[in-house]
């Protein structure tokens, strides 16, 4: 290497390393783990991804929901309780799995379907955790955690929306969330397609979300980033830009009767944005809605 370059390199390396560096680094390595665990109550803000996908979702079956909706029932006091908890607390392995249970639904078929789904998933999660811990121990040990539970998004006279989450902590965390929204008066499970007259809602909602994304990117001075075209982001950053929601995109209905569309981490934005939600203004949806019974 050129003599000058060597001298420059020496100079570059002569910058004194502060004593605090060790501390800062070790702390950051530790905190990253801890932070994730502490953050679980605010899981909406910071987490969610697609490591373990909930399968067999009732939500994806509009036909089933429609069948259920044909059974007329009188409204009742619907509650959500924690049915069971799995807990493991080892030094380095932790599991905390809360399984919700919906009570007092007159529509037993709906209640059983949901509760059985929740229980089966809770059990599967626990079994998987035990198997993974075995794997990790065989590989020399390490930290591993699973935290799962539920969050009531909306609970009013008409609507019950439950969001369930799973946080996996293995160095970095991943979270998966899944919503079920129930009409408490008619005791039916609400799906996204059944709210609308036809498929046109997919385009209407997607266009509105893109608009909101571009606006947020602009007003936040690119602090907030979504993978969307037309917001001035370089094309090479947009390998997989957001085009449209799925027909059965995750959603819930807010207490004020607004439609909230939810995306998992990485689905439409960089990881640091976490789970993102968009409230769709009702007037945008008005022409597509079957009625204003739920969304108003």
């Amino acid at each position: 290497m050129d003599k000058k370059l060597k001298d420059l390199k020496k100079q570059y390396e002569e910058v004194p390393i502060p004593k605090e560096l060790d501390f800062v680094v070790e702390n950051a390595l530790k905190q990253s783990n801890k932070k994730k665990k502490n953050r679980t109550p605010h899981w909406l803000l910071g987490t969610a991804a697609a490591a373990m996908l909930f399968t067999a979702s009732l939500n994806v079956s509009p036909a089933m929901a429609r069948t259920l909706s044909e059974i007329p029932v009188v409204g009742s006091v619907v509650k959500v309780l924690t049915w069971t908890e799995y807990e493991v607390a080892d030094d380095t392995y932790e599991a905390n799995i809360k399984v919700p249970s919906i009570e007092n639904l007159e529509n037993q078929k709906l209640a059983n379907t949901l509760n059985e789904k929740y229980r089966a998933e809770g059990k599967a999660l626990y079994d998987e955790f035990i198997a993974d811990v075995g794997d990790i121990k065989a590989n020399g040990g390490g930290h591993y955690g699973v935290d799962s539970g539920y969050d009531i998004k909306t609970d009013n006279d008409q609507i019950l929306s439950i969001g369930r989450y799973i946080v996996n902590t293995v160095g970095s965390s991943s979270t998966v969330m899944h919503y079920d929204t129930i009409d408490k008066q008619n005791e039916i499970l609400i799906t996204l397609p059944m709210l609308f007259k036809d498929d046109s809602y997919i385009r209407v909602i997607s266009d509105n979300i893109k608009e909101q994304m571009r606006e947020q990117i602009a007003t936040s001075n690119e602090e907030k980033i979504y993978w969307v075209k037309g917001a001035g982001l370089p094309d090479e950053d947009l390998m997989d830009d957001f085009k449209a929601i799925d027909a059965d995109q995750q959603f819930y209905i807010s207490d004020k009767g607004k439609l909230i569309i939810s995306f998992d981490k990485y689905e439409v934005a960089p990881g640091y944005m976490g789970v993102v939600e968009f409230e769709i203004p009702t007037d945008v949806l008005q022409n597509s809605l079957v009625s204003n019974q739920y969304i108003h």
């Binding site: 000058k4 420059l8 570059y12 680094v25 932070k35 390490g142 160095g171 970095s172 990881g271």
Partner: protein, 172 residues
């Protein structure tokens, strides 16, 4: 299995950070020129990296992947604190001849510091951190040809002759 990958990545990552933390600190410092800010950048970078470790496809890419996080975090930091002047290419080209004059009498003592950031970072990553130019380009999110021309320009500004043949041609 996904979780196991992430788990193995974590082990490698912790080791990489512990071994190379001083290199990462120096790189951060080359942007901030300030101890406390450089420490903050190292800390933020580690935390960001831990959060997206499961997205890393292969441990082989980990080192340049982490360099990229450090560089981005540093640049974000400078941008937030308005210490970074973003200039488009046209303006740069227009300004470049004048800059050459300014740096003509550069003395070695402050040569590196006075080099504009876009040239300095290429020199640091390529010569001091021994990264291939292709990796440097990917870390800085620029084209390989841009990296080459910046390196060339940087050496010119530093008045360094490429006698030993190490440089853009060796890695091109």
């Amino acid at each position: 299995m996904k979780t196991r990958n992430a788990f193995q990545h974590e082990e490698v990552f912790v080791q990489l950070i512990r071994e190379q933390k001083e290199r990462f600190y120096l790189l951060a410092y080359s942007y901030t020129k300030n101890e406390q800010d450089a420490l903050d950048i190292v800390q933020d970078s580690i935390q960001k990296a831990m959060l997206s470790l499961d997205r890393l496809e292969h441990v082989d890419y980990m080192k340049s992947w982490f360099y990229k996080i450090v560089v981005r975090t540093a640049i974000d930091f400078l941008r937030k604190h308005n210490r970074l002047q973003v200039t488009d290419d046209d303006t740069l080209q227009y300004l470049t001849p004048a800059q050459e004059d300014i740096y003509e009498d550069i003395d070695l003592e402050h040569a590196l510091e006075e080099l504009p950031q876009m040239y300095r970072e290429v020199v640091i990553l390529h010569y001091f951190e021994d990264l291939k130019l292709a990796d440097v380009a990917s870390i800085l999110d620029i084209k390989l040809s841009t990296a080459k021309s910046r390196l060339y320009k940087a050496l010119k500004l530093l008045k360094i002759q490429l006698q030993d043949g190490k440089g853009e041609t060796a890695h091109g």
